[in-house]
């Protein structure tokens, strides 16, 4: 796996789709002379001048606490918070809500077999402890991916899933590449285990997890022929990050020689495909010399240390101040916004990096500081993230409280529906378990557009199609239908709210869009709910339905109007913001 090809191809596709094939063949060294990227006029390395920017700091937020703040925190921490979740948080306080979000939940039960293709275990039993069989690999991989979707849909008020996905986007593995879903599951388990834990420990463990050994060729790296793939990505993408090229082979934070030295440290490890899957160290495949690092690492030397030597390398890298900054910047872009200007670097990034180091690389103190800061709750930082496909799609299902089949009724139907959602999300250009390359999804690193990359003339209509489908006829598979039930949603509101068109619309608006709508837009939504009619007619129609809830015509009358209003609301550009 030459991930360079992936990176180049990806960048080429983003910038000039037609030139993709040529870009693959282009040597990496010429990249520096590439013409300036051709990007949308809304693209930005820095925000346009004149735009209001948050100047708030990491000081603890002590301002008002209510629906608006709770919704902001949960939008960024969950995939589409529901109204009850927001109300519960708003009725509590910031400290308590953060405590809840940061408490690691119990590990979920492993994925199960839902296909008659996999004859190793019965339907409903886990395949993760069975022997490998290429014939079963496809359905097992689907099972894993679908199970993951199920975790997202079923998340509680916890940061665990958002952080698991963060680490997946950071310590990337592509399930399609490693060709052993059991190793894929072990990788997922590892990410979840450390999702709210210690990033240095995660870096250590992920280095020798079998999926990573396969993905970045660690299993082929021997003393006689070290494979630099993992060593390079460990430095460039997973930890210290690549700085400006300041001399031939010198990327400020590390050099080409450091890549080679790291590769030598990591030789000797191989994945183990037996039951259970794992990894093992073979001394004879290990480079037994002392590895010498550049001045970037203070000319550090790593003495031969056999199976523990990789720990020495990870420790050395985490001693670099830039490692903490690199990780914290990525967290900032994940949770706050993609533009990091000088003020944010000074007042937010650096203090968080210090906090990470002081806490021995535990991430929860950092998340607590960031998500509890004045900066995070600054109104200028609200609503400025563009939803990822997972945010959009899972959030749609969760916020609209769509009812999915349960394992108790049919595990096949349950996984089938999760599988459908994975397909929907993949069409929007995000595949759970398979980021496009080792750098993760471009939306989180590709300057200058970052998460604007999620939205284009192809993906936007696909988003609208899925909201139209769910607010309309819904989707049926295995005789089970998932669909938005606008009546149930409306009836779950306080009776006085449901019966008042203005309160009703305001309630859905504050749930579904993160910034205030204008009076014109509210009037537009009202025109979809009550075309050309005075406000009180909604009350009349709604009460008529409540008085005869089984009357098909009365039910359809209010249902179609609620559907029209929600369809319009989900059609707003604002609905793509988080």
């Amino acid at each position: 796996m030459n991930r360079r090809l992936f990176l180049q191809r990806n960048a080429a596709v983003l910038n000039a789709p037609a030139a993709g094939a040529q870009a693959v063949a282009r040597p990496a060294a010429t990249a520096a002379q590439d013409p300036p990227e051709k990007v949308s006029r809304y693209a930005n390395k820095a925000l346009p001048t004149g735009l209001s920017r948050a100047t708030s700091t990491l000081a603890p937020y002590t301002g008002p606490w209510g629906y608006k703040q709770a919704a902001h925190l949960l939008r960024r921490s969950l995939f589409g918070p529901t109204r009850p979740e927001i109300l519960t948080a708003a009725g509590s306080n910031l400290t308590a809500v953060l405590n809840g979000l940061l408490a690691p939940p119990a590990a979920p039960a492993p994925p199960v077999n839902v296909s008659t293709t996999d004859t190793s275990v019965a339907i409903g039993q886990t395949w993760t402890t069975q022997v490998f069989d290429q014939n079963f690999e496809g359905v097992r991989r689907n099972s894993l991916r679908d199970w993951w979707m199920g975790q997202l849909l079923g998340q509680g008020t916890s940061l665990a899933e958002k952080m698991t996905l963060f680490w997946h986007n950071h310590f990337v593995v592509e399930l399609g590449d490693i060709n052993d879903a059991r190793m894929g599951y072990e990788y997922c388990r590892l990410l979840r285990q450390h999702a709210l834990g210690n990033v240095r420990q995660l870096a250590r463990d992920v280095t020798i997890t079998p999926a990573m050994l396969r993905y970045l060729n660690g299993n082929q790296s021997t003393g006689g022929a070290p494979n630099e793939n993992y060593g390079r990505e460990l430095l460039e993408l997973f930890t210290v990050g690549k700085g400006p090229l300041i001399a031939p082979g010198n990327y400020t934070n590390y050099t080409e020689a450091d890549v080679q030295a790291a590769a030598k440290v990591l030789t000797g490890w191989r994945d183990q495909a037996t039951v259970p899957v794992g990894s093992y160290f073979t001394a004879s495949r290990h480079d037994g010399t002392t590895k010498v690092f550049s001045s970037c690492f203070g000319n550090a030397r790593i003495a031969p240390n056999g199976a523990s030597e990789y720990l020495d390398l990870v420790n050395l890298i985490f001693q670099q101040a830039e490692t903490a900054r690199f990780l914290v910047r990525k967290l900032y872009r994940w949770f706050v916004y993609y533009v990091i200007d000088a003020q944010v670097e000074t007042d937010v990034i650096q203090p968080l990096a210090t906090l990470l180091i002081q806490n021995n690389f535990e991430v929860t103190p950092v998340l607590r500081a960031l998500l509890g800061s004045e900066h995070f709750f600054d109104v200028l930082n609200m609503g400025c993230l563009i939803k990822s496909p997972l945010d959009f799609t899972v959030g749609l299902c969760r916020q609209m409280q769509m009812v999915f089949p349960t394992a108790a009724s049919s595990v096949v139907a349950q996984y089938g529906m999760w599988n459908y959602l994975n397909g929907v999300v993949a069409l929007q250009q995000q595949t759970l378990g398979d980021p496009p390359n080792v750098a993760g999804w471009a939306a989180y690193y590709q300057t200058p557009q970052y998460h604007e990359l999620w939205i284009n003339a192809v993906t936007l209509p696909r988003r609208n199609q899925i909201t139209d489908l769910f607010i309309g006829n819904g989707y049926t598979r295995n005789s089970v239908k998932i669909v938005i039930d606008p009546l149930a949603l409306t009836q779950s509101l306080p009776a006085a709210t449901a019966a008042d068109c203005n309160l009703l619309i305001a309630e859905f608006v504050q749930l579904m869009v993160p910034i205030d709508l204008t009076a014109n837009q509210i009037a537009f939504l009202k025109s979809t709910l009550l075309p050309g009619l005075p406000d009180f007619e909604w009350t009349v129609e709604w009460q008529q339905y409540l008085a005869a809830p089984t009357n098909t015509a009365k039910k359809a009358a209010v249902t179609t109007k609620l559907q029209a209003m929600l369809r319009a609301l989900m059609g707003l550009a604002e609905y793509h913001l988080s």
Partner: protein, 525 residues
């Protein structure tokens, strides 16, 4: 003249069919010449404009039964117009003085009135009644598609996949405003698009073009809106059509004063600019006049309802003038509808509550400029629950227009609406282009012919069974007599045709069944 036009059209249709026999019409690109030559179902340059009057229009205060003024005054003394203020359309029927412009158009042959349009078992819920009118369903049936949407779905299978295309570069239907109409809701997607103006399409998804806030969120919002506008595939076609035609009529009020006029102005611009869109939907809200539809002091000819009616008249008048100046008036017909009329008896708040049947207006140079059907019969002393009874099913109007204007076959109409509905000649015989494609009523005779003045003739023909209308039209296509309008058994019929009071001259006697029609010239001596 009308008969010549009728005959020419028939001949052209016959010749065209022969000329193009065996060749799929769809293989040809659109051209007005081809459309004129073939009158093929899939080729039409005709445009239908639907105006939805939201809230339930008080029909009795728009089209007034002059022959029943005592009953009208008894039922609604607090809001009824002074009889001498009503503008007469016929001796028995008048129109609200705020609609003087429409009165004038009627006299010039460009407006028709269909009395007491509704459906059996009327529903008094705005939402439900609107759904019935837009879907074309029975009162007790819930349909999720719109009547015009089903029509377009049949005309353009597969939409939106493969659209726009070289053959169909333009939107199939357009709602002027920010909401797409349910009339054009197809089985899977809405066949229409909503536009609020010809220059900006941001309303499509944003519901407005308010400036985004000066924040990071506003920055991203602007980016997404930009993509939204790029995504709208019909933007270019609409802007190009709009760019080819200017508004020519000086009769439109200043923008912002009459939203219906603003909407129709856009329709005229797009039609004149060559957009091939067949159906436009415009809306005017505010007809839910439970209180103060006329002021408590001052003339009942003024107030909320009069203002609304005045807007309709002003807008349609300017629209017709604009179409005429663009020389496209013969391609466009329009109709108004509202989810229901209002109660016969007014309430004490100078308003009216939700009712049932109500008159419907049709307009355009090709409409039959007459009042269809007699006035509703008002009880001498109307109670609070008395309603105007239905005389025409609204689906009769829809199907007749689809048949005559878009040449939809009776079989297709039955498919679209679940069954057939009696025909209403809301379009002039000269515009009855589909008559040729309808089966002729065989062995249909009128005797004696010529017939004596003030005498009586007999219509003899073999009925296919079902709802039958036998009407007499004058040379202008106006209905002057309706001999039969009811279910008839299958078999030979001898139907009396009363000719009393008719001036000497040539008339057309028409027999209309669901799938057959026949026409004979009858001369009154």
């Amino acid at each position: 003249m009308k008969r010549r036009e009728f005959l020419q059209t028939t001949a052209a249709a016959t010749a065209g069919t022969a000329l193009l026999a065996g060749v799929p019409i769809g293989a040809y690109g659109y051209s007005p010449q081809l459309a004129a030559l073939t009158n093929a179902t899939t080729q039409s340059d005709k445009v239908l404009v639907i105006i939805q009057l939201q809230g339930g229009n008080d029909g009795l205060n728009m089209i007034i039964p002059l022959d029943q003024y005592p009953a009208l005054m008894a039922a609604r003394a607090n809001i009824a117009l002074p009889q001498n203020q009503v503008l007469p359309l016929t001796t028995a029927t008048g129109i609200h003085p705020a609609m003087a412009a429409l009165h004038n158009l009627y006299q010039n042959g460009q407006v028709g009135v269909v009395q007491s349009v509704g459906y059996p078992n009327p529903n008094f819920s705005h939402f439900r009644a609107t759904d019935i009118w837009t879907s074309g369903s029975d009162s007790n049936v819930t349909l999720t598609t719109g009547w015009a949407g089903r029509y377009l779905d049949g005309e353009y299978p597969g939409f939106p996949t493969g659209f726009p295309s070289a053959q169909n570069p333009d939107p199939l239907a357009i709602s002027i405003g920010s909401v797409v109409s349910n009339c054009v809701q197809g089985p899977s997607v809405n066949m229409g698009m909503a536009i609020a103006s010809t220059s900006s399409f941001l309303q499509l998804l944003s519901g407005g073009v308010d400036v985004a806030p000066n924040t990071p969120a506003g920055h991203e919002l602007t980016f997404i809106r930009q993509v939204v506008s790029q995504t709208q595939v019909y933007t270019t076609a609409i802007q190009a059509a709009a760019g080819r035609a200017q508004t020519l009529s000086p009769l439109y009020p200043t923008a912002g004063q009459n939203s219906l006029a603003d909407q129709l102005k856009i329709v005229a611009q797009l039609v004149a600019g060559g957009l091939q869109t067949r159906i436009y939907v415009c809306t005017l809200g505010g007809f839910d006049t439970h209180t103060l539809q006329v002021p408590t002091t001052g003339s009942p000819t003024t107030g909320t309802h009069a203002t609304l009616l005045g807007k309709i008249a002003e807008a349609v008048n300017a629209f017709q003038d604009d179409l005429r100046r663009h020389a496209v008036q013969d391609r466009v017909v329009g109709l108004t509808f509202s989810e229901f009329g209002r109660r016969i008896k007014s309430n004490s708040g100078n308003g009216t509550d939700h009712g049932a049947a109500a008159p419907l207006l049709v307009f355009g140079s090709k409409v039959n400029p007459m009042v269809h059907g007699p006035n509703p019969t008002l009880p001498a002393s109307a109670g609070v629950n008395d309603n105007v009874a239905m005389q025409f099913d609204f689906r009769s109007v829809y199907t007749s227009i689809l048949q005559d204007w878009f040449q939809v076959t009776p079989a297709t109409l039955t498919q679209l609406f679940g069954r057939s509905f009696p025909y209403v000649p809301v379009l002039r015989p000269g515009a009855l282009l589909a008559t040729a494609s309808k089966a002729e009523v065989a062995d249909f005779t009128v005797y004696p012919n010529p017939a004596p003045r003030d005498g009586r003739a007999t219509v003899a023909y073999d009925s296919a069974g079902g709802h039958v209308q036998v009407v007499l039209l004058d040379a202008l296509g106006r209905e002057v007599r309706r001999a039969v309008d009811r279910e008839l058994p299958r078999g030979a019929q001898q139907l009396p045709l009363d000719l009393s009071g008719l001036a000497p001259g040539a008339y057309y006697c028409q027999v209309r069944e669901a799938s057959r029609t026949g026409s004979r010239i009858v001369v009154v001596e």
